[in-house]
């Protein structure tokens, strides 16, 4: 098992020569990070945030412009991928179209001149683990998306690399298959216990799979921690809005104070400089307020979203959309005026200008 450390790693891409007025792009900026051995670590963020570049730097497919990358305590910054002993799964799967499934999976072993009988037994073992036994003679073009994905996984796993890298491996699959393969990836990780670095733009995938994750934005890490920590204690407004489904309600403080009257004791004088955030599942839509619970001003139900186990309502308040949970049994339909039950402690606040979390404690009267 291998521990990965990144010290102040930056990566600039030279401007493309054939385009006028293009500038140097800094894809990753002063990245410092430690990934524990045997950990499932995820880089997550919107497209262009530098997460794939970070992965390529660890793989050795790109070389850092500055900074250092260490596996355990040895620098690998100057090493080619083959010397780093990493394996990688690509979004496109990158299967070799002219080779059979067997040869695709055995390719890394063939390059290392592993004897034929050992190749066969190793491929057989990994193929049965991933349900590919009957496909070994096929060519990639004869496989479905899910099957290609599993061949790519098998090829990466066959030689038990020091580090296992995955670049958006599930993005090209349909929703159901994605859930299935998510479970397969987590199961394989638990069996093999190889340090894994994963890249995705899907926050839910990142939350479900990872031991820890880093949210990236504009080439820098916005926040790094366990999924639950990120969800409950976002350090910035960006993280709060990125994590969670349905997304967090982010309201300007003055609107929030009118909708949730009790908030005024926490917001006080910072009305114009902060945003108030609350998760939709912590707001309960009711037709009539119940005494003893904090209850909001009325808002108009615009849209009901029934997902099966949960039911969500989109409310319009002064032109702002707020999402809230509809408790089972409550019969709310579009057009109705409803109240929201909330708890003052569930709100968190972010400074407008910097996007940073601020603590506003309730002022006792």
């Amino acid at each position: 098992m291998t521990r990965i450390r990144l010290n102040n790693v930056s990566k600039q891409f030279a401007p493309t020569t054939n385009k006028a007025n293009s500038e140097v792009i800094e894809a990753v900026r002063k990245l410092s990070l430690e990934i524990q051995s045997g950990e499932f670590f995820t880089f997550v963020g919107p497209s262009g945030c530098g997460k794939s570049t970070a992965l390529n730097l660890i793989a050795g497919l790109e070389h850092a412009s500055s900074g250092e990358i260490l596996f355990d305590d040895n620098s690998v910054s100057q090493l080619e991928p083959k010397k780093r002993d990493v394996a990688m799964v690509f979004q496109s799967y990158a299967l070799y179209p002219h080779l059979t499934v067997f040869d695709n999976i055995a390719f890394p072993l063939q390059l290392r001149k592993v004897a034929k009988p050992e190749q066969r037994s190793a491929v057989g073992a990994i193929a049965s683990k991933l349900g590919l036994e009957n496909l070994l003679e096929r060519k990639p073009k004869e496989l479905s998306g899910g099957q290609r994905q599993r061949v790519a996984l098998a090829r990466a796993l066959i030689r038990r690399p020091r580090v296992f890298l995955m670049d958006e491996p599930l993005s090209n699959l349909d929703a159901r298959l994605r859930l299935e393969m998510r479970a397969v990836i987590r199961r394989i990780f638990l069996e093999e216990m190889i340090t894994t670095v994963y890249v995705t733009h899907d926050q839910e995938e990142a939350m479900v799979l990872s031991d820890r994750l880093a949210i990236m934005r504009d080439g820098e890490i916005e926040q790094c921690g366990t999924p639950l920590d990120m969800y409950e204690n976002p350090r910035t407004q960006f993280v709060a809005e990125f994590i969670g489904n349905p997304p967090v309600n982010m309201l300007k403080a003055d609107i929030a104070a009118r909708l949730f009257p009790a908030l005024i004791s926490r917001i006080g004088d910072s009305k114009s400089s902060v945003n108030a955030a609350i998760r939709p599942n912590l707001l309960t839509a009711v037709k009539a307020p119940v005494s003893g619970k904090s209850s909001s001003d009325t808002a108009v139900a615009k849209l009901i979203e029934m997902t099966g186990p949960d039911c969500w309502v989109h409310l319009d308040y002064e032109g702002v959309i707020i999402r809230a949970r509809v408790p089972s049994g409550a019969d709310i339909s579009a057009g109705e005026h409803v109240h929201l039950e909330y708890s003052l402690d569930d709100f968190i606040f972010f400074e407008n200008a910097s996007g940073l979390r601020v603590e506003l404690t309730a002022v006792e009267n």
Binding site: A59, L61, E80, M88, S92
Partner: protein
């Protein structure tokens, strides 16, 4: 009219043109080859396969066939090797790549007759730049040992760009991720070339070999302008021999038989090569 018949009506004009310019001449050549037809002596009679029997014993025919095979094998092999090298170089990113791609194509853009005339001067024994540069004195086009090779060199110079551009197109179709995956899997530059790049462009290599072999086997203008088939028939190819028979000596019957032998050889080569190409497809 029923829709069924309509589609044949649409095809009719094209079919008529094809009949006129391809099928009819072909059939006519076959018919001519079965006749003894000499315009000079006003002879024209059916002789069956006599022309072909004569051909089998005609040493000038076998020399021409040998010259044609030599020209084809050597020029296609060299064009493939050099063209692949150029394509691999042009597939890398460097400053001025776009310009280089255009420059490389130039020899191919020059008409064959023009470049043959040009090379005739390059090869000129007394004033040619080749002898000047090599500081030797060889009669390239006048000596039987060199004449055919001189034609091969000119053909390689002229046609390698075509090979390079086709192979470059195939190289650019290989997704970058395959190279990245191979590097992560542990392949070095040579292994990537051998296990990824070459197998991936193999179908295109066969296309190039087919195109070039067919063209080279039928070669006429390049050699004819340069050497006229000489000296002493040492660079005479089948097409030139057929031309000489048909239009220099007006032996329409035997000339057609020789021309038909080119057609038959080319057909057989194509069959074999297309089978090889099919097998290489992934």
């Amino acid at each position: 009219m029923k829709r069924f018949g309509l589609k044949y009506l649409y095809l009719l004009p094209a079919m008529l043109v094809l009949m006129l310019v391809t099928i009819y001449p072909l059939v006519h050549v076959v018919a001519l080859s079965l006749h003894r037809k000499l315009l000079i002596f006003d002879i024209s009679r059916f002789v069956g396969f006599a022309n072909f029997e004569f051909m089998l014993g005609d040493s000038r025919f076998w020399t021409a066939l040998g010259n044609t095979a030599y020209f084809t094998l050597v020029s296609v092999a060299l064009e493939l090797a050099i063209g692949l090298g150029i394509a691999l170089l042009l597939n890398r990113s460097f400053k001025g790549r776009g310009l280089m791609r255009s420059v490389v194509l130039l020899p191919w853009a020059i008409p064959t007759v023009v470049s043959a005339k040009m090379w005739e001067w390059i090869y000129n024994a007394d004033y040619g730049v080749l002898n000047y540069l090599l500081n030797i004195d060889i009669n390239w086009l006048g000596s039987p040992a060199w004449a055919l090779n001189a034609a091969v060199l000119m053909d390689v110079w002229k046609t390698t760009p075509f090979v390079a551009i086709l192979l470059l197109a195939a190289l650019q179709d290989i997704p970058d991720d395959l190279y990245r995956a191979a590097r992560v899997d542990g392949a070095g530059t040579l292994k990537i070339l051998q296990r990824i790049t070459l197998p991936m462009i193999l179908p295109m290599i066969w296309v190039v070999v087919i195109f070039r072999t067919l063209d080279a086997f039928r070669v006429f203008d390049a050699v004819y302008v340069l050497t006229g088939g000489g000296p002493a028939g040492s660079s005479e190819t089948l097409s030139i021999y057929a031309y000489n028979l048909l239009f220099q000596t007006l032996q329409f019957g035997y000339g057609s038989a020789v021309a038909l032998s080119v057609f038959i050889c080319v057909g057989l080569i194509t069959l074999v090569l297309i089978r090889a190409m099919r097998r290489s497809e992934w």
